[in-house]
């Protein structure tokens, strides 16, 4: 059973003239970290909203094709029922935190599910600890920085003990520090907890390094899906569909074109450093073989 399975899915928001998704097929395995890469209007947000049932239950429209979340068809169960399997974090920190304190926010989900009080207390502590916000229980959301707010939003989703976490451009409104904090939490979620994660992004810079797979989307369609090294090999093509490629991949592409080879492929600064050091120290002059 896949965590998320979409077969030939097309969707048009109510009142819209364009298809938000056009015959999209994709799978997310349990434990995988998948990044949906695309610009505004590429359909990545729509996929996120389908992943927990908000489409079609809260956001009506014309949906065709099959969407299975942990085996259950999205049209058969309610958002509330899916909420125990899938947690979601939206891009705007301010409008997804509505309680008067961090603790209440993180407890809200399990409270709604009538989880016993002791268990809720444990989950709140566990979730806050995981996102690095331990001790912030009594703080009001208004007093937090953007990065802290998003981490609380993640904790609020995690306290429902989902098996999959979906994040729609969570770093959108954040400054560099906030982004770093957020991505380190995501990395830990993947490495320590093996959680299934679906991340929608427009900038491949950070996610390239720790995604298992990248799904490239443009104009409501899936352009390509596969391991990062494969999908992100052509920065020009990424830019062409509105996605920001990792800067080091541009370096790799330039080196490939200068030396008329195709062996360079960098996803992270570490990648690039290793490869270039090897080139420079072992050969003396790049390209000399």
């Amino acid at each position: 059973m896949h965590a998320l399975e979409m077969r030939d899915v097309s969707f048009k928001y109510k009142g819209s003239k364009q298809l938000a998704l056009e015959k999209v097929s994709l799978e997310v395995e349990k434990g995988e970290f998948v990044t949906l890469l695309g610009c505004n209007g590429s359909g990545k947000s729509t996929v996120c909203l389908l992943a927990n049932g908000l489409i079609p239950h809260a956001l009506p429209g014309e949906l065709s094709g099959e969407v299975r979340i942990f085996g259950e068809e999205v049209r058969q169960k309610s958002v509330a029922e899916f909420s125990t399997k899938v947690g979601i974090v939206f891009q705007e920190p301010e409008s997804q935190l509505f309680c008067m304190s961090v603790e209440e926010e993180v407890a809200f989900g399990p409270e709604n599910l009538a989880v016993p009080r002791e268990e809720i207390k444990n989950r709140v502590e566990w979730a806050l600890d995981l996102v690095g916000m331990k001790g912030y229980n009594d703080r009001s959301p208004f007093s937090l920085s953007g990065g802290q707010k998003q981490r609380v939003a993640i904790a609020a989703a995690l306290s429902m003990r989902p098996e999959m976490l979906v994040l729609d451009e969570p770093a959108y409104a954040l400054d560099p520090v906030g982004r770093m904090e957020l991505y380190s939490v995501l990395k830990e979620l993947k490495e320590k907890y093996g959680m299934t994660v679906v991340l929608a992004e427009r900038d491949a810079e950070e996610a390239a390094g720790f995604s298992d797979r990248i799904v490239l989307m443009d104009d409501g369609k899936v352009i390509e899906a596969g391991p990062p090294r494969l999908v992100l090999r052509d920065p020009g093509r990424l830019r062409g569909i509105g996605v920001v490629p990792p800067q080091v991949s541009e370096v790799a592409a330039l080196m490939n074109s200068r030396l008329k080879v195709s062996r360079f492929s960098f996803l992270t600064v570490d990648d690039a450093e290793r490869a270039i050091v090897q080139e420079l120290s072992s050969k003396g002059r790049p390209g000399a073989r």
Binding site: L54, A58, A80, M100, G109, A114, S140
Partner: protein
């Protein structure tokens, strides 16, 4: 902007630690008492009692003054204007055409002003010593439906955010040359459209996002939802409750059963 809603200041006083339900109940009783008392000296006594509570709450006088400035002005206004509308009683101090100022009327004016002062101060103490969170929790414990409690809580939570959005919008329009303080009433109202439209759009957008977030966290999934935070009445709360009831009910019995002129 000093907002009435934002008066809560964290501190470790006896009043802060009291169960919010006891506090709300006490404030309601005190308010009723303020209305029922007609004797000037009783009201002064009540006011002094309230000031004692204010002292116990460790509120800074400067902050209290700032918050209650408006009330003080209102009290003064009442004292000054009352005798012009209430002309009964003797002795008459001033008789000048339509104006007839009597001594009892002046005292009645002062009494009414004191009443307003008592009410305002006692509610101020409640707001100062009780967090919004506790207030809403208490209301829900009293029987308010959770949905309504959540509505109040969410509105309170978003109030500062909304104020900050309006500030941001006002700044943006000022930077486009809009001067609010100019022009006649009609012109000025038209200028506020430039703030109102983006504000309303922003509020609607936020409401939309909020609704998705609420649904994603299973809001409304079950009627029997759990509540993490509980209000437990402790010994000190019961004691306070008994004291409050005694202090407040006794004068009322005295007044209505034994006709003591309070």
């Amino acid at each position: 902007m000093v907002m009435f809603i934002d008066l809560y200041t964290e501190a470790n006083t006896f009043l802060h630690r009291l169960d919010p339900r006891v506090k709300i109940f006490a404030v309601l009783l005190l308010s009723v008492l303020a209305f029922l008392m007609t004797n000037l000296y009783s009201l002064l006594l009540l006011l002094s009692f309230i000031f004692l509570l204010l002292f116990l709450s460790r509120a800074k006088w400067s902050k209290t003054y700032f918050a209650l400035k408006f009330v003080l002005r209102l009290m003064l206004l009442i004292v000054v204007l009352w005798p012009f509308f209430d002309r009964t009683g003797t002795p008459i101090l001033l008789d000048f055409g339509p104006v007839q100022i009597t001594e009892p009327a002046i005292w009645r004016g002062v009494t009414s002003a004191l009443r307003v002062g008592c009410l305002a101060s006692v509610w101020y103490i409640l707001m100062f010593t009780t967090s919004q969170r506790d207030l809403v929790l208490a209301l829900v414990r009293f029987g308010l439906r959770f949905d309504y409690g959540l509505t109040i809580a969410v509105s309170l939570r978003f109030f500062p955010t909304f104020v900050s959005t309006i500030d941001s919008i006002t700044d943006a329009q000022k930077a486009r040359g809009l001067v609010f303080a100019q022009g006649g009433l009609l012109e000025r109202s038209k200028k506020y459209v430039a703030v109102l439209v983006p504000a309303v759009v922003s509020a609607l957008r936020m409401a939309d996002s909020l609704s998705l977030a609420l649904q994603s966290r299973a809001y409304g999934a079950r009627f029997d939802r759990t509540y993490l935070r509980q209000l437990k009445m402790q010994a000190k709360d019961y004691v306070a409750l008994v004291v409050v009831v005694t202090l407040l009910v006794l004068p009322m019995i005295a007044k209505y059963v034994y006709s003591v002129p309070i």
